[in-house]
């Protein structure tokens, strides 16, 4: 038993903040991925290695066996969180009030899914190792990419979903029904990590592509083109909570001015969805990209109107525009990350110069894509050498 799976991060293409006020948002998969390798072992131990966050744990199976309540005779259903199990696990890993750091949360999420899936039978000895290309805490769905990988690999190991990879495949995905199950367990992990997640991040991690999010309802969109982008992290720290409150205050202060701005953002999301859908069923033209660029510019101005801009984001927009490229913030704003659309004809030396310009500003910058596949299983051949090396260290 040896599975390698990966899941993408998430970016908001349009509609961040407006979605809080009942408008459409478009979430897309971000092809900076989290990779997870799960191997059966004969050590009588369960080990988890999360080198991104310096977290390495091994437990004896006997230790973990004690955490399963006698009441937990039946395999856990995934309907809602088993709070008793969570409480036992919190005690086990030593969560005292407020000790809610990333490392502890990631450990809890793993143990919860592992024990829920295997608690009714004999606990298997295994090692899980994870490596992510995503920065953590940057609003790019890194925790969801992790819980989606956990759910997919552990559900494979428990036999709840089949391993989709055939001998001759490099990568393979699961059928809809299996993805639903993976997504449900990933969502439980997200609840453990975040308390009250929207479910968008794990849905993007599971289905990939793009999804429409409106009034709590998440609708995966069948087909979207793969778009090349730069993802830039300004590394300006910000609080999503504070920024959401700031937008709300501004709407309350200037309702007649701000309500139309939210309507305009809604129309941007709908127009973008329509253009992307056209791009999958007719020849892609420069005009499609022109419109995508215009929508990015307009939305970036609207986000500034909402008060969630930042001088660093202005710099990002200015620096990329100087190279003919269009950018907007993605997510909460107030710093954080931005995306820059690359056109098919954008020359690689333009891209390299832009990346260098942005790094010179002190930003992190990756060339990647949006709209790529969700969770998938990999043959080792389809995993980049350097990532495979990291996963094989443990």
């Amino acid at each position: 038993m040896d599975y390698i799976v990966s899941a993408p991060g998430k970016a908001i293409l349009h509609g961040e903040h407006a979605v809080v006020h009942g408008k459409v948002a478009l979430a897309v998969s971000l092809n900076l991925r989290t990779y997870l390798r799960l191997r059966a072992t004969t050590t009588g131990k369960v080990c988890i290695n999360l080198p991104n966050i310096d977290t390495f744990f091994c437990w004896d199976l006997s230790e973990l066996q004690q955490l399963i309540a006698s009441s937990q005779g039946q395999k856990e259903e995934v309907t809602r969180l088993n709070h008793q199990l969570v409480n036992r696990l919190r005690e086990f890993v030593g969560v005292t009030n407020g000790n809610l750091d990333t490392r502890t949360m990631a450990t809890l999420a793993f143990l919860y899914i592992y024990l829920s899936l295997f608690g009714s039978g004999k606990l298997p000895s295994l090692t899980v190792s994870v490596w992510s290309e995503l920065p953590t805490g940057a609003g790019l769905g890194s925790s969801a990419a992790y819980t989606v990988c956990l759910a997919a690999a552990l559900l494979c190991a428990s036999g709840d979903v089949p391993s989709p990879l055939k001998e001759w495949d490099h990568t393979a995905r699961w059928c809809q029904e299996d993805l639903e199950l993976i997504n449900s367990w990933a969502f439980q992990g997200e609840i453990i990590i975040h308390g009250n997640p929207s479910g968008v991040d794990n849905a993007v991690g599971t289905w990939g592509g793009m999804l429409r999010f409106l009034a709590g309802k998440i609708i995966p969109l069948s087909r979207v083109p793969l778009l090349r982008i730069l993802l830039t992290n300004t590394k300006i720290p910000r609080s999503t909570k504070v920024l959401v409150a700031r937008v709300k205050d501004k709407i309350n202060k200037f309702p007649s001015i701000m309500t139309p701005v939210l309507d305009s953002v809604d129309a941007i999301s709908c127009t973008c969805e329509k253009v992307l859908s056209e791009m999958t069923c007719e020849p892609i033209t420069g005009e499609h990209y022109n419109i995508l660029e215009e929508l990015i510019d307009i939305n970036q101005h609207h986000l500034n109107v909402m008060g969630v801009g930042h001088p660093a984001l202005d710099t990002l927009c200015r620096v990329t525009l100087a190279r003919g490229l269009h950018s907007k913030l993605t997510g909460a704003g107030g710093g954080g990350c931005g995306i820059t659309l690359l056109r098919p004809e954008t020359d690689s030396c333009v891209i390299q110069s832009t990346v260098q310009d942005l790094r010179d500003c002190g930003f992190d910058c990756w060339e990647t894509s949006i709209g790529g596949p969700g969770v998938q299983q990999h043959s080792p051949l389809s995993v980049k050498e350097e990532i495979l090396e990291i996963l094989n260290q443990f």
Copy 2:
């Protein structure tokens, strides 16, 4: 007979472009003024001196007498343009098709008002000299400030309105009825210069303060506070016609996105009008200025969304914001002029540094105010020394 009059320029505070699509705009007087001195002479000549545009003309009264048609027995009413007179004047000053430069237009406007007011009697010998603080062709209503001054001084000279200045006054204004007459004649001058003016510029030059402009209707607002500003000319040339067409195209391309933006601009104008009116009847607080600044920022973003921004205007906003000051373009955009709000507590050394920063960008920059008085008559004592010197040269 020796009159000195002045009239202010105009700036659009909010609603430029949106006004073309049926939304409210707020036009304010800009206290960069045009000064005009009219003196009776005994030379038997009519002379006009416009040193800003290197235009100096003298005509014998006998020459001008010949331009008056025999049909023009009655004094001209100001209802509509006398096209026959205009045509005779165009021939007289040598307007061949297309020769519509500023100098010719300014001369035509003067001769038209002069002959219309005096043509039914004996033409008076006089000299008119004009000096303006306004840059021409920058969308700041310099032609209207000129025609308002012409109308006021010539109507005084003809006895159609009284000279309002009493012995002990420094400056004085006319009553409403006289202002109406001045405005009507100034509008005729604007028609000669511009062909199809909106009437906003001459109304601001006449009444000063602020006026609301909606669907062709111009409503002067009773009381507004005087606001200190910086007026910056980026000197980027632009075509109002092209910019208006650009906005129209964008609305046609993205109606669902752009229509709410126009609604938001409309609400900005209405909110601004309300705040300014509050500032005249309750103690002015920092919060009043905070709101004015927020409205400026939001509208500047909306104008960028409309596609009438320019990198030079972005620079203006960034440079002033670095000093804590908020700016927006005024008028057509795409370059041209911008205004920067100064707060009552803004330190004069901050202002001086900001002006220097902007000049270092290659811009022209003036510290002035908006909301000041419209056309007024001056005692020589109330005119700045250097302006008086220029007017007295002729």
